[in-house]
Symmetry: C2
Subunit: 148 residues, 2 copies
DNA sequence: ATATATATGACTATTTTACTCAGATATCTA
DNA sequence: TAGATATCTGAGTAAAATAGTCATATATAT
């Protein structure tokens, strides 16, 4: 029951993008800078940013001095958005990826446990929808959101 | 972000144990019967029931006519109990297995994302604590909880 | 031109998962 | 007491997922 490193790195990278963008004017932020600050391989970040770009969370600027910028303000990008972009659907088991019962397995009594998984999924989605990048990058007493 | 088959099978097996116990008098239920109804290898179930027994959720009766019985009434066994028994701690990332910040990583800014993982963990635990075996095994309009 | 950066597809080592196997121990029934 | 039935325990293994790399193409600033 773990978030993969894709999800963990993806969220860290997006937070870092917020900080670097905030600190460095209006230009795009390179993966090289994010990679250095977050100590993540920039090649791996490239892979993750494919997903983030595909989901419309960031926009890219190619070429020298290029990089990435947030496609929307941090307040409008939720943790759920990011996880879905790099990890796929938020669902504890395959059979509750959609609400359709037909898409589920063929066991007569599948419903016995499905109930539990649906409730778990819904609470996860609700929580992750309610947290956005601005929340996480707010400077606090421990200096979080201000390290750059 | 998936529950492993250990968790899925573990929950199904426990639900089935409730049903078979309810149907079959007061004696213990063999893994063979659970395995047959749920279409899970009984050898795999043995492995899972090690964990369930270790966590005090079931009691075993060895020898012929032996098997397992619930250690507590179904109302007092939560889905969280079962998942913890077969899968380990409920935590989306390693660093929030405990609430101690010291047990976390050594990044200066770990807190930026830790906040999100803690909230996710708490909502997962709250939800899974709130569902018990009696809830899942209640007979309903679709016949769930009554297939035996 | 050249350096810098993203874009894309494929590839690989490692780890985790999902099981299986063999043999020991306990208990009921005949 | 013999035999059948179950749990108990440790170890082993094939397949799948994860985590990360590599090579190469393309775009843009200086």
């Amino acid at each position: 029951m773990r978030i993969s490193t894709r999800g963990q790195y993806g969220l860290r990278a997006m937070c870092r993008l917020v900080l670097l963008q905030r600190a460095g004017g209006s230009g795009p932020v390179s993966l090289r800078d994010i990679a250095e600050k977050e100590d993540i391989s920039s090649q791996y970040l490239e892979q993750l940013f494919r997903g983030l770009r595909g989901a419309g969370l960031v926009e890219s600027v190619r070429g020298a001095k290029g990089g990435y910028i947030l496609a929307r303000p941090p307040e409008e990008i939720s943790v759920a958005d990011i996880l879905r972009a790099v990890e796929g659907p938020i669902a504890p088991v395959e059979c509750v990826e959609s609400d359709s019962v037909d898409a589920c397995c063929d066991r007569k009594d599948y419903c016995m446990t499905r109930e539990a998984w649906i409730r778990l999924r819904d609470s996860m989605v609700e929580t992750l929808d309610s947290i956005n990048l601005a929340d996480l990058c707010k400077p606090g007493e421990l200096g979080r959101g201000s390290t750059c």
